[in-house]
Amino acid sequence: MADSKTLVRRILAGNTRAFESLIEEHKRLVSHIVFRMVSNVSDREEICQDVFMKVYQNLKGFQFESKLSTWIAKIAYNSCINYLEKKKVPLFDDCSLEEKTLDSFPAQGMLPDEYAEKKDVSRRLQTEIDKMPIHFRMVLTLYHLDNLTYNQITEIMQMPEGTIKSYLFRARKLLKQRLMAKYQPEDLCL
């Protein structure tokens, strides 16, 4: 926390190098959120840039009531929600849980060696995640990829902890079911 405070103080004093290191430190987190929520490839980088511009503009008002990374993640999440609302993308579509079965996806040929098989499972998993409702994708990413706690995810997504836990449980169960429909149990045990 002390490091974050020093960093913020330096940025507010006009040190652009300090801001550059803030970006380097948090761009992975921001890109995870933006890339998972926004499917339009050409808009992703611009949204990431906008997020850091907003961080810079609002940094003066940051009171260290939460971790700096949580605050930045919240800005990224809200920016994506605004973008999706403008594009009229449904934020939670329960139908997609039932309708998009594995049969509707293009078939992918299984390659013979184990490495290729593993790559295939990974690719399949990414495809399955992208087909999920946005909130499911988000909790999976924040929990597993960014190792955030339930409390932090609750703060970022502004939802009760019970809802976050429920999304996480349902998302993982659904992923397992979908992968099981394609692969033999032993293929999944990598």
Partner: protein, 137 residues
């Protein structure tokens, strides 16, 4: 007698470390004897490993520099708003007011309206008279 297997929720809670000490001991004891649940656990373990793979989220190496390069634009926009926008607003109001007075002759209309007598109990009649006067003018 039907065999009771672990639920998805129990396996996930186990992997997340959300189980109490007692529940964990019970679950591990069950896992030692149940092949079906062992497979289910391994599948979830694999899924957890895969979910940690960070392979598709790449921003360019120059990303931070490109954002920093845009900062002067923010500063300019910030400082520009306070002065130029307010001045422009005031100027627009003044131009509108002067144009209205000049073209619509609102100055003389105002004078005429103030000279129309308004008796206390004949207000409606007076208004009609005033309107007639304006039409005649």
């Amino acid at each position: 007698m039907p065999v009771t297997h672990l639920t998805d929720e129990e396996i996930q809670d186990y992997l997340d470390g959300n189980l109490s000490h007692q529940s964990r001991i019970f679950l591990e004891a069950h896992l030692k004897t149940c092949e079906f649940c062992q497979v289910a656990l391994k599948q979830y373990q694999s899924l957890y490993v895969e979910l940690k793979q960070d392979q598709v989220f790449d921003l360019p190496k120059t990303f931070a520099k490109s954002v920093v390069a845009k900062l002067p634009m923010i500063e300019k926009a910030k400082s520009g708003f306070n002065y130029s926008d307010i001045l422009l607003g005031i100027l627009a109001i003044l131009i509108t007011a002067f144009t209205s007075i000049y073209y619509l002759d609102l100055g003389s209309l105002g004078k005429r309206l103030t000279h129309i007598p308004l008796p206390q109990f004949e207000f409606a009649t007076t208004l009609v008279e005033a309107a007639k006067g304006l039409v005649a003018a």
